[in-house]
C-alpha cells in the first residue's frame, strides 16, 4: 500500500483545523498542523509536505508572509499551497496568487470544494 500523502494544515483556529481534517478524511492523509505562519515555515523546513492549506489572518506571521517565505526556498517552491481566506475579494485573491499561491478557498469552507481542490493538486 502506498504511503499516505502529507498535508500541512496552517490555521490559528482549532475549529478550522478539525474541520479541514474531517472534510478531507481523518485517515485519508497524514496531517501535520501549525498555528501560525512562522510555525508553518519551521515545519516545512524540517519535513516537506505534499500540500499546504494556509489560513491568511494569523498571529506572528500571516499567511501571505509565510507563503512568500516558502516560495523563496527552492525546496518548497513546487509544493501546492491553497490559501484559506475569509475574504473572497479580488484584491485578497490577487495578493495571494501574486505571492505564489496555487489556489484558494473562501470561508465558510465548503467541504466538497476543499476535497475537490486538494485531490486535484495531489494528482488524485
Amino acid at each position: 500500500m502506498s504511503p499516505r500523502k502529507k498535508i500541512l494544515l496552517v490555521d490559528d483556529s482549532y475549529t478550522m483545523l478539525v474541520l479541514e481534517r474531517v472534510a478531507l478524511g481523518q485517515e485519508t492523509y497524514e496531517y501535520d498542523m501549525a498555528r501560525d505562519g512562522q510555525e508553518a515555515v519551521e515545519k516545512v523546513t524540517r519535513q516537506l509536505p505534499d500540500l499546504i492549506l494556509m489560513d491568511v489572518i494569523m498571529p506572528r506571521m500571516n499567511g501571505f508572509e509565510a507563503l512568500r517565505a516558502l516560495r523563496a526556498r527552492i525546496e518548497s517552491q513546487r509544493v501546492p499551497i491553497i490559501m484559506v481566506t475569509t475574504c473572497g475579494e479580488e484584491n485578497n485573491v490577487k495578493t495571494g496568487m501574486d505571492a505564489g499561491a496555487t489556489d484558494y478557498v473562501t470561508k465558510p469552507i465548503d467541504p466538497k470544494t476543499l476535497q475537490s481542490k486538494v485531490r486535484s493538486y495531489l494528482g488524485e
Binding site: 483556529s13 475549529t15 474541520l19 465558510p108 467541504p111 466538497k112
Partner: protein, 227 residues
C-alpha cells in the same frame, strides 16, 4: 343427433367456462403485476434520486462534517472563555459571519450584558434591554429568530425550529439571526449574528443544527460562570 347436440352443448359450456376462468385469471395476474410494478418503482425511487443527484449526498456529508467539527472543537473547551472563543470561530468559519455578539442575561431576565463580540462597535451593545428588538423576541419565544430568511430556508425548515423577525434592533447593525442560549432548560443569554460574509449572504438550513449546538454549548458556558 340429440346425443351429439347435447355433447356439443356441454363442450361449448365447458369451453365458455374455461374462457371465463382464463379471463379472470388474466385479470387477477394483471392486477398483481400492476401492484408489483408500483412497488418496484417505489423501491427504485431513492436509488434513482441518489444516482441522479450524487451531489446531494456530498452536500449532506459536508454538513455533517461541519457539525462534527463544531462539536469536536467545543468538546475541547474547559472554561467559559474557551467555549466562547470556539463558538466565535464556529460562527466565523462555519456559519459565515464576522459580526457577532454574545450576551448574558441577568438574573432578573430584564437586561443583557455583552460578553464577547466581533466586528461591531461594542460601545453600542454593552448593556441592552432584554425585551426589545430581535434579541428580545428570541429570548421571549425561546426560539431561533431569523430576519429575512431565504426562500430555501422557508421551504426546507418547516418544523418550527425558527421564527421570522424584523432585523432592526437597538444597535446600528442589522441582525441576521438571534439564538437564545440555554442551560438546563433556562435561557441565560443570546447570540446575535449581524451581517453575513459577502460570499455567503444568507443562512442556510444546514446552519440551523450549528446554531442549535451553540445554543446549548455557549449557554452552559455562561451558566457555569455564574455558579
Amino acid at each position: 343427433m340429440i346425443v351429439m347436440s347435447t355433447t356439443m352443448t356441454q363442450s361449448t359450456a365447458r369451453a365458455a367456462a374455461f374462457d371465463r376462468t382464463i379471463s379472470e385469471t388474466r385479470a387477477r395476474l394483471e392486477a398483481e403485476l400492476a401492484t408489483l410494478r408500483s412497488a418496484l418503482e417505489a423501491a427504485r425511487a431513492p436509488t434513482a434520486d441518489i444516482t441522479a443527484n450524487p451531489g446531494q449526498i456530498e452536500d449532506r456529508l459536508g454538513d455533517i462534517a461541519k457539525l462534527y467539527a463544531a462539536a469536536s472543537a467545543l468538546e475541547t473547551a474547559s472554561t467559559r472563555e474557551e467555549t466562547i472563543q470556539i463558538a466565535r470561530e464556529i460562527v466565523c468559519n462555519l456559519v459565515g459571519s464576522e459580526q457577532l455578539a454574545f450576551f448574558s442575561l441577568d438574573a432578573g431576565g430584564t437586561e443583557l450584558a455583552l460578553v464577547s463580540a466581533l466586528g461591531i462597535d461594542t460601545a453600542l451593545y454593552e448593556r441592552m434591554r432584554a425585551n426589545s428588538g430581535p434579541i428580545g423576541r428570541a429570548l421571549e419565544l425561546g426560539l431561533l429568530c431569523l430576519a429575512s430568511p431565504s426562500r430555501l430556508m422557508l421551504e426546507t425548515a418547516t418544523d418550527g425550529r425558527f421564527v421570522v423577525t424584523d432585523g432592526s434592533g437597538e444597535g446600528s447593525d442589522p441582525v441576521t439571526a438571534c439564538v437564545p442560549l440555554r442551560a438546563g432548560g433556562n435561557i441565560v443569554g443570546a447570540l446575535a449574528i449581524f451581517r453575513m460574509l459577502p460570499q455567503k449572504p444568507e443562512l442556510l438550513p444546514s446552519d440551523i443544527p450549528l446554531l442549535e449546538l451553540l445554543s446549548t454549548s455557549a449557554g452552559c458556558a455562561l451558566a457555569s460562570s455564574r455558579a
